[in-house]
Structure formats: structure tokens, C-alpha cells
Symmetry: C2
Subunit: 208 residues, 2 copies
């Protein structure tokens, strides 16, 4: 039996979520809050293991609330439940420490499924969110037509620039003179249409 809390300012949505949570024998809703401030005050006492958090809250956003809540209850897991689907907000929420991201129009089954996944140590995203996240990764290749003009050697040099190395460090690594490195860099800048190593690094920005 997992203890669940809900933070959501809209009364109807809040009660709807509470009903959904209590539908399952595996979860029990131990408390609901309408604001982030209230959540930070009462949730540490209720000690929920899982929090369903709205993003759009009166003063403090749900994203910030999750970040602070994580400090007070390190083990707590959060699923954002929101109407927003813009990638920016999704990524900010995930960075704040959310374990899942659902849209408000999700079905009760999806909500319960997400809670189960998260409780088992997984992550949870609705299909639409997953598509956006996947699309985010895909962007990184499509935006790089300029990059495939680079020769293998130039790519090699750029790779090292992206790791923060100076020309001197790069030439040592490649066993050539600094002149060679600068020669390649010159061409890299031309092909990428930039004028500094920092711009080039940010434009290339490979895997990680």
C-alpha cells in the first residue's frame, strides 16, 4: 500500500484524482493540498511516497515545489499532472526531479499505470509526452546539415573542442602541431558559420 498525496488547486481535478488513486487497492490518498505552500507545510508530516503535482499553481509553480519537497522528503517520487505540453516545461519538470509526466486528459487507467511504474522504480510518460521527449533527441541530428560537411579529422578536432580542450591540448592529443589544429578550426568555423570555438562547440553539441 503506497501513500499518495495530491497537490492541485482546481477542486474538481483534485477530487477526481483522489477518486482515481483510491480506486486501486495498491494506493491510498493520504492528503490533498491546493497550494505549493500548503504542500511544503503538511506533506513532510504525512510522509507520502508519491505525489501527484499540478504545474500551474497560484504562487509557487509545481516544478519549484517538487524541487523543495525533494529536500524535505528525499525519497518522495513525483508525477507531474498538467495541461501543458510544451517541451520546455516538460524538461524543466523532469530536471526538477519528477519521475513522470502525465497530461490532465489522461485516462484513470493511464494515471494508475503511471503510478505503478514509478512505484516500481521506473519512469512514466504518456505517449504524447514520450513523443515530445523523443523528438527532442531527434532535433539534434536534423539541425546538423552543416555538421556533415566536416571531414573526419575536423570532426575529431571539434569533438575535443566540445570537451573544453584548448588548441595546445588538442594538438598534443592528436600528435600534430598547433598550426594543424588551427588550420582545421579555421575550416570548421567556415563550415559551421561561426567565429569562435564556443559557438562551434554549442552548435555541435554531440551525444553526451
Amino acid at each position: 500500500m503506497t501513500k499518495v498525496a495530491i497537490v492541485e488547486d482546481n477542486k474538481t481535478t483534485r477530487e477526481g484524482l483522489e477518486t482515481i488513486v483510491n480506486l486501486s487497492a495498491d494506493f491510498r490518498c493520504v492528503g490533498t493540498c491546493a497550494t505549493a505552500e500548503e504542500a511544503l507545510k503538511v506533506l513532510p508530516k504525512l510522509e507520502p511516497e508519491l505525489v501527484l503535482m499540478d504545474i500551474q499553481l497560484p504562487n509557487m509553480s509545481g516544478v519549484d515545489c517538487v524541487a523543495r519537497l525533494k529536500e524535505l522528503l528525499p525519497g518522495v517520487k513525483a508525477i507531474m499532472v498538467t495541461v501543458y505540453e510544451d517541451p520546455d516545461r516538460i524538461f524543466r519538470a523532469l530536471r526538477a526531479g519528477a519521475s513522470g509526466y502525465l497530461l490532465k486528459r489522461s485516462t484513470p487507467e493511464e494515471v494508475l499505470h503511471a503510478m505503478s511504474e514509478v512505484q516500481l522504480g521506473g519512469g512514466a510518460m504518456s505517449g504524447e509526452i514520450a513523443r515530445k521527449v523523443i523528438g527532442y533527441f531527434r532535433e539534434q541530428t536534423t539541425a546538423s546539415t552543416e555538421v556533415d560537411e566536416l571531414t573526419p579529422r575536423e570532426r575529431e578536432v571539434l569533438e575535443l573542442v566540445v570537451h573544453g580542450l584548448s588548441n595546445k591540448e588538442i594538438c598534443e592529443r592528436l600528435s600534430v602541431t598547433v598550426a594543424a589544429v588551427r588550420f582545421h578550426l579555421k575550416h570548421i568555423y567556415q563550415k559551421l558559420h561561426v567565429h569562435s570555438r564556443t559557438e562551434a562547440a554549442l552548435k555541435f553539441r554531440p551525444a553526451k
Copy 2:
């Protein structure tokens, strides 16, 4: 009725997937291949709408195969089915254009669910994969304890550095002298423990 193809070198897994696909009334397996080369030759004729692709294949990896297949069949969607769970491979697959990522130990229900999500235009990830992807985003904050030592102004300067601006451009933007910008940069380098603007930019690397 969606036409599905399977690319997988292991006979048992391949036939297992074929059985799963044909379990559903919404999908039909129109062909199976054991190698990437075979897939690139026969799939353009079979014109599947969805491909279940293994990553570990004899000569060419499934990731490269998806990338090439996308050129021949622009509309095709791919779901990677693999035993690998290292983030690197996941991200490379997603960048290659995969719409989903499943682990081989997924249940038949999960496989069918993922196919439905993808066919409906969404993305699909098993809970474990979602956790890794989410974790990837989370890293970016946890690794940045150093960043929150920065003052608001320093953060402002760094933000502009990350956009590829030179000191001169930054000082104009902020209506201060170059000296001020350099003053802040010095402190930024100290706090981030780096020695160049490129390193600082790569370390900071905000949302996007």
C-alpha cells in the same frame, strides 16, 4: 490494419515477436529479416508502416539501419527492441529516428501497447527506459551544485556566453564596461572550476 516488419538475427526472438504481432487484430507481420542488409533490400518493397528493430545485428547496427531505412521509407516508424539499457545506446537510437525503445524482456502486452502508441503518433518507452531518459535530464541539475553558487548577475553573463557572445557583445548587451564582464567571468571560472569560456558554457548548458 498496420503492416509490421521485424529485423532480428536471433531466430527464437524473431519468431516470438512475429507471434506477438499477429496476436493483435490491428497488426500483421508482413516480413522478417535476420540482418540489416537484408532489411534494406526487402523492406522497401514490403512497405511496412512499423518496424521492430534489434540493435545488435551482425554487420550493421540496428541504429544505422533505422537511419538508412528512414531515407528509403520516409514514413516508416521504428521501435528498437533490445537487451541494451545503457543510456548512450538509447539516446543514439532515439536520435537515429526511433519512435520507441523496448527491452527484450518486455511482456507481449507491453510490445503491443508500444506499437499502438507509436501507430497513433505517440512515443513509447518501457518504464525502465523512461526512468533512464528522465534520469538523463535530472543529471543536468544534480551535476550543477557549482552553478547555484553563481550570483544572478554572473548567471546572466554566463547565459550570454552560452549563446556564443564575445565579451564585447556581452558588455554592450548589459550596458557595462568590458572590465565588468571580465570581472564576472573570472568569478564564474573560479566557481565552476574551469579555465575558459567554452568549458564554462558546456558545463552550464541550460535548458534549450
